[in-house]
Symmetry: C2
Subunit: 433 residues, 2 copies
């Protein structure tokens, strides 16, 4: 054996302790439940992929963020940066998939970003996509899933911002942006939530992409439920009839699927950063938490084509687990009992071990979560342990209780103690769940 190894974490990586993990498991269970209600099925793609596949067409910016290396077989490989590119690869490799293909994937993705507060090089994403349908009902369903997840998590102060790139590009083009500068302009527009409208106006000016109409458009671009009125305003300036029709159909379907919720709004300048979106784009912002979007997505009809050779329409979205956790934390939305252990069974001495183990087993049979103290010890110390760990109940079994075939249940909040027979105690603890 060589000497001691210094225990340490890699820069940008983290351990997540049980307290934080309980919060994350809580969120993931809710998300998965909604995914399943909407008939999305789980898919697994590997953590490692060929580098050229991961690079896909994300662009140089993203390429720099890839964890890549040459494996023992001399292959250029990388850790996945996101799930969508692997989904596209999967669909291309499985030509017999039945469409619509509705899948979700939850797991770690990796980015070699400069670590900063709250940003890590490994983090969890929750993706859900519909492949093989160009119907606006598919986009609307993606949005309604986001909506249902937010409700399931009891987040109330949110907005789902919606736009369509075809509508936005058409507006920008008709207001004077050259066709080949539309992507560039949209990337700058996407910075509104970080630098504000004034900041974006300045950026567009610097890039010689600003004129008076565009400035006016940006100034008018408030998220709004009155999407018909706003688009009518735009229509007075330019002819965008076809795009407005398409977008109106989407908005109507989304409203239908979410009960006309006022938190679903048209955001005329929303573009989303990624280049691969081809139609509707959407993102979720939560008020009063000082965060950017906590989920976002859109339609990407050309991406699968880079692998399959033929374009297959697709639309999808993704929640970032870290941001969701931050929202629930800041808004105090986690259940107060979350992660609190339920019941400790004590072991008084060698002569009562059997009795304690028997009762412990009985609790598990009845699906009551319990922990057993691992060796005989002074009961006071065991109650102290239960207290410091936050147990809800302690089951005290001394020679007296064991002799009378009873157990004593102590409520750790009130201090109240009850002597019950084993079945009675099991019943009582079951009710408390």
């Amino acid at each position: 054996m060589t000497g001691r190894i210094e225990p340490r974490l890699l820069k940008g990586f983290r351990d997540i302790d049980p307290t934080a993990m309980e919060r994350r498991v809580y969120i993931l269970n809710k998300i998965e439940k909604v995914f399943r209600l909407h008939s999305f099925a789980p898919l697994f793609t590997p953590t490692l992929e060929y580098l050229d596949i991961l690079k896909g067409k994300m662009g140089e910016e993203a390429d720099k963020l890839l964890f890549s290396f040459t494996d023992i077989g001399g292959r250029e490989v990388g850790l996945r940066y996101e799930f969508t590119i692997s989904l596209a690869r999967y669909v291309a490799m499985n030509p017999n998939i039945r469409f619509p293909f509705k899948r979700y994937q939850i797991g770690s993705v990796f980015r070699a970003e400069k670590p900063q507060k709250g940003r890590f090089r490994e983090f969890t994403q929750c993706d859900f996509d519909i492949v093989g349908s160009s119907s606006p009902i598919a986009d609307a369903e993606i949005i309604s899933v986001m909506y249902d997840v937010l409700n399931e998590l009891c987040i109330s102060e949110f907005k789902i911002l919606m736009n369509d790139r075809r509508l936005l590009f058409s507006i920008l083009e008709k207001l004077g942006v050259m066709k080949d500068m539309l992507l560039k302009a949209s990337r700058l527009l996407d910075k509104i939530d970080r630098v504000g409208k004034e900041g974006v106006i300045k950026l567009l000016e610097e890039h010689k992409l600003l004129n008076e109409s565009i400035k006016k458009f940006i100034e008018m671009s408030e998220p709004t439920t009155a999407y018909r009125d706003v688009m009518e305003e735009f229509s007075k300036m330019i002819d965008i009839t076809k795009e407005v029709e398409e977008f109106t159909e989407l908005m109507m379907t989304v409203n239908q699927m979410t009960g006309n919720d006022k938190r679903i709004v048209y955001s005329p300048a929303l573009a989303r950063g990624l280049d691969y979106y081809t139609g509707p784009v959407f993102e979720v912002v939560v008020e009063g938490v000082g965060l950017g979007s906590i989920a976002g997505g859109g339609r990407y009809d050309n991406m699968i084509g880079i692998f399959s050779g033929r374009d297959i329409p697709a639309t999808g979205s993704s929640f970032g687990l870290d941001r969701l956790e931050e929202v629930l934390e800041k808004k105090n939305l986690f259940p107060s009992e979350l992660g609190r252990p339920y019941c400790l069974v004590t072991i008084f001495g060698d002569e009562t071990v059997k009795y304690s183990l028997d009762f412990y087993r009985q609790l598990h049979k009845e699906k009551i979560p319990a922990e057993i103290y691992l060796k005989p010890k002074n009961i006071g110390k065991q109650i102290g342990y239960a207290d410091s760990r936050g147990f809800r109940y302690t089951v005290i079994i001394g020679p007296e209780e064991a002799g009378a075939d009873k157990v004593k249940v102590k409520d750790m909040r009130t201090g109240e103690e009850k002597v019950l027979d084993k079945d009675g105690a099991t019943e009582f603890l079951k009710e408390g769940l």
Copy 2:
């Protein structure tokens, strides 16, 4: 956009399609439920770690299997090979952890092994450990968790093999193996399930580790519930009183926690391959599936010391998801409805879209899993889709149904159709869950 990228998987890696993923999610949910009942809490450690930490003291064999590389910061890093070493690092880095620390971790581990049938370079392990207790009740609890998981999954033809390295080493030493050859001998013994007793006897002979008593010991080494009798036999040959006492206490505790199940047996030659075990070792084998062990573990009291400088006792075990999946598949233990989609809502035409979407929303509100057909189409085609996907029910909504404020529910197994009002249909579909 450059040309088409050839979609392909890395050697030894795989996609897992929704059908297989449903089976895995089924297993993982059951495992996690048992972990939680026994008060194990989730912990996350990162996928990437410093290479010297991953290497720990696993030995050269394991080192060769590490996916390692130099990251952009010039650090020597690797993908985790297993979870135990990261757990040890975590415990060493968090001196304020309250013991016993009962944690589980489920996730991918990576091994650059020669890919072969059913063996992949990324696979899922389900670890659970108790850190900070040297009590045999801790070991017994680990074994009882394995036991409960097997029962929860309805696996009946299993055996949990138990031994204690201190007992085994003591026997071997007293039968003539030199102290410094005990690990070597135990590694050879561990090959019994692959090469059989005769094979191991030959191997020991080749390594000059065999004598008549050891041969006799191996021949006697059948897994047995009559552990007292067998140990008494051994005790006639050599003095192993202390070790027998300790092991007997463990066996008694395990029997207590599992209701004296006959499938929990003493396996005198069981050693387990890893060098770091220091006390009880255990593994699960399932009869009639032609697999090695599907779970295994043991006590490792010196491992955390390589990071923390002071030894902290620990015991734990791990299930391999692939092998569990294979067992359930071969034994036909998956529920027949698993992964079968529940209910499809049809869309007849533009005039009924609203009505269909409304009903779809109502089903989700009542937590009934449903999918909606994504665009108006001939109803026959939609029923054909439902049939080919294996939906249990189809909800047919044509102008007639919508006009009468009804829906038609078709049972896809029997072909039976029922016209019901929306609430009635919702109630009916809820009952069928």
